[in-house]
Symmetry: D3
Subunit: 223 residues, 6 copies
């Protein structure tokens, strides 16, 4: 049954922005390596790093009607996340939809399908992570749903979960855990900053992490 869930819960923007500043790799580590989308999800241009609350879209193959419906549900700080109900690379989304989404505060799109007008989207600085770039358009003939749980590129995304995306890909953080993950990620980031300085000075990970005895015990031979 096609449905639009309207009043979803979102995490605080402060937490979301904190996650954005740390990036996908750090956040993913901080939550014990869960929630990563598949590596075929690539950004249409380099350098974007965003986070936002997921507005989810379950759409039929080659049909973007529900994207129009979803845009009405957007608030400042949201990210559209679309999973087709069967594998599809059609261009569900282009510069007109991006104009509309951006006007409503949308920070970007994560789509396990195709996108088009990527030159315009790049100029607008509207970031997209997608499976493909493809000019093939879509129809508006069959229903889907908005703000239901979806599996996008192999990860479960529930409406209001936090999406973090950068050049390394896309990660989803459960809304309920967002504050805790942010704290762990910050701790991790600080620890890494210290290690980075020591490594830059020429110290070896073998010594910093105390690996030598374990390697010897496991039988690694130097010849």
């Amino acid at each position: 049954m096609p449905v639009v869930v309207q009043n979803i819960q979102r995490a605080e923007l402060g937490i979301i922005d904190g996650l954005a500043s740390l990036g996908v790799a750090t956040v993913h580590e901080a939550q014990d390596r869960v929630g990563l989308l598949a590596p075929h999800m690539r950004p249409i241009y380099a350098g974007a790093r965003i986070a936002g609350s997921a507005i989810t879209i379950s759409a039929p193959p080659g049909d973007n009607w529900m994207v129009h419906v979803a845009i009405e549900q957007l608030r400042e700080g949201d990210i559209l996340v679309l999973a087709p109900t069967s594998p599809c690379v059609d261009g569900y989304f282009g510069d007109l939809l991006a104009t509309s989404a951006q006007a409503r505060g949308c920070r970007g799109l994560v789509i396990d399908a195709g996108v088009r007008d990527v030159r315009d989207l790049t100029e607008m600085q509207f970031p997209v992570w997608s499976k493909a770039v493809f000019a093939q358009g879509t129809v508006k003939a069959t229903m889907g749903s908005v703000n239901v749980p979806i599996v996008c590129a192999g990860a479960l995304v529930r409406p209001g979960d936090i999406i973090v995306a950068d050049d390394d890909g896309v990660c989803v953080v459960e809304r309920e855990c967002a504050a805790e993950v942010l704290e762990k990620a910050r701790t991790r980031e600080e620890a890494e900053a210290k290690k980075r300085r020591r490594l830059a000075a020429g110290e070896l990970g073998l010594d910093i992490y105390g690996m030598r005895p374990k390697l010897e015990e496991m039988g690694l031979k130097y010849v």
Copy 2:
């Protein structure tokens, strides 16, 4: 039988340049969504947007002899379009061939195979859409044909058809329909410009396109 067809018909440059300025997504929509090459055809650098008359090449796998033959057939405003006779990612084309092609007015290459010297090609601003970047070279041992109809990345391309290519991919327009497609594409572009302004101002596609009654009729529930 290997053959070179020499005097092919071309569309007017004015029409071709008009199509270039509109881009792949708009042109493809304007001709009722036919003629798109497969999404694995990607540009070697971002930002190029060209159109031109197709000089077609049917070449054996790993053999670029016919590219040399095709270059002699080039005129100002042409684009080389190569389809191997079986799947191949070898680098058929590099900076020497690009120098030669560019000297004869060629605007770019569309190749359902590999290309190399992409750093040089980028510096020369010679755009290429290809299936792969691969330094593996080719031999010159077997014949192919120039200016015969080919299927390139899933689309039928006849010599003299118009190729439009940009960051969204590659589209072919039948020569006989080029003027009509240009007109439709311009009309479409103007209509989109108006919509873009309304969407940027925050109006919703749901209202602009009058979608709400249809969605209700099809059973979409808001909860």
Copy 3:
């Protein structure tokens, strides 16, 4: 048996730098078209062109322990080359490891698996050629080997062999042949420079290479 081979032989840096300046496509041609890695090996950013001595790593899937071990073996002018023992796209390498490797003179990484922190690596100008970009991290639980012969992306790489990498991909040159390949590559480069000038002036490859009689003999028809 896990092993680290410590004192490998390297080619002279002068030869290595000479190969870097010529690039992958020219070097590959100069050594009779052997040694190219598969075309799925792509750079994380455009424009890098490097050469160096291979420090090889054979690592289990999803386990980057041996990368730490390999970094100790690095000298100025080396390149890390990692092949997983079974297909894997996990992100074995990120900005901390790159900081450490760069501090020890490493020029880049070639990995038939995944890499992460690519925004940081790009800022650091630490080039990587990989099969994937993926934030998924790895564990440190099982042994591999360093400086043993490996097959990386379909090519045999022995420790101390010279790796050449640029936007066209990655090529390996046997250490023993490096001087000879450099000489041949330079000769080739000079010959190409002459041809480039003639082609730029509008001469045709058909005439420069004397192809017309052979094409006629093989039955090519002009119609």
Copy 4:
């Protein structure tokens, strides 16, 4: 945190067997086309058609330790379902594990990774749906979890959900809905049986389904 959930709920075997007899395509349609695993999940031999309660396994890449743990949790009528935490084609499972699983009543394996010993598994009539066949073995070095919700080949599978698998692929049915889906699937099957007889007699779907007026209204032209 690695965990084994021991006392999961299962559907009645009568319902499960009913679903098996109807097959993937019918069950998938009956539950409104949700729950299908990706099309890369293929059976190792043709002709098997099974259903069972999912014992889920989340395992690190190249590490099958948790399979041993999961086998202890098996009861008559269960199916093992394994999703690696990152993409992997290693052979997690072979004839020894199959012998053990079969001894405990397991009906088959669904694995978004590799399997091996497929000749033995075929002889044993132990069916497997997998992403790959690959003799590469795995280690036992890192923890995973058993009977936690997983995303397997793009579908969410919770422990105790019903897996239906045949030559068309794999579908998951939520445990709570199993009885209802079975009833709908049977109704559908009966309706199809009637249509099959009419179609076999030469009647056209165009007439049986009353499609002609709608096609005309939508503008289909016969020429």
Copy 5:
């Protein structure tokens, strides 16, 4: 504009059956190696070898409405050939449609998309060559066309062209050339039968084809 072309021309059944008996590899060679569909087109069961006149279908992604329309156009000895207008693996076709098609004399299906109910299709001995097996069904919401020229898996197929399909894949023969191709294929088959006997007796292709002088001339060294 959606259209159904009704009275297409077909080749004689005698010619078609002759082509079937020779198989894809021989027919493809006999027509100078053109017309082969891409290698991803695989049979759902081994051993079928058919030929027939193409009834072509151009269908939107995930929409099989036009298959129902096409079935009415079938005559004894025809083969359905479907190309989606953008890449799709949905199961457009199952046992009900096969029952209907078979009742009207259809010999099989060639589809650059997905198929389902393959166990039933195998029992019915209704052969299918497809890009995927996938239980995901389709909708009936948008128009396509029947009996227009299509590009299917990289090959141009016009209505009435002859499709030859067996375990090696699928080849299309232009209707106008069918008689000539059949004759060439028979000649080729006879020549091969002679060679087969000589090769089975231990003679070498090097001698039968007189290759030794040419190999020597081209510089092949025996060491």
Copy 6:
């Protein structure tokens, strides 16, 4: 430089046949998990299990001339192993070449490219492991080499190395290690036979392998 190495060393047939009887998975484990070809190498029919001495072929893309040359080098118990010099799926090998190879004692073909006439090859019981089945033929225009070391599907294969192939894929054993690998594989097989009996009787791997204390130590929780 194209070359044919004529008098290669081979392992004893007794050892080779011993390896064949144990199969790929066992042999691969017995030699510490090295030497496996990539999982895209699949048999054209199920059930074959062979071993033999490798006659290696390095061939240009789409050119099978060297296969004819290699056949002369075959002796009883050999296997042809072909790697193209760049990725290719053309059908290098069909029933005529198989007839010739079989007449000279060849046990099968391993080819990182395409094969055709698979119905005939199946009838002849001439097993092939390949990357693709594709009817596209090849030319005889350029040289390659026979019995030089090659990288085939990611594994280094030297002439005279032992190839083991079955439904699980293909593994290469270095000739010098063949006797030792055979012994280890037999020991392993015997140990597995014992375990198989215990597992079939319902004992758990957790107990047979003494895993419980280690799992507890590593923090696995049962809930």
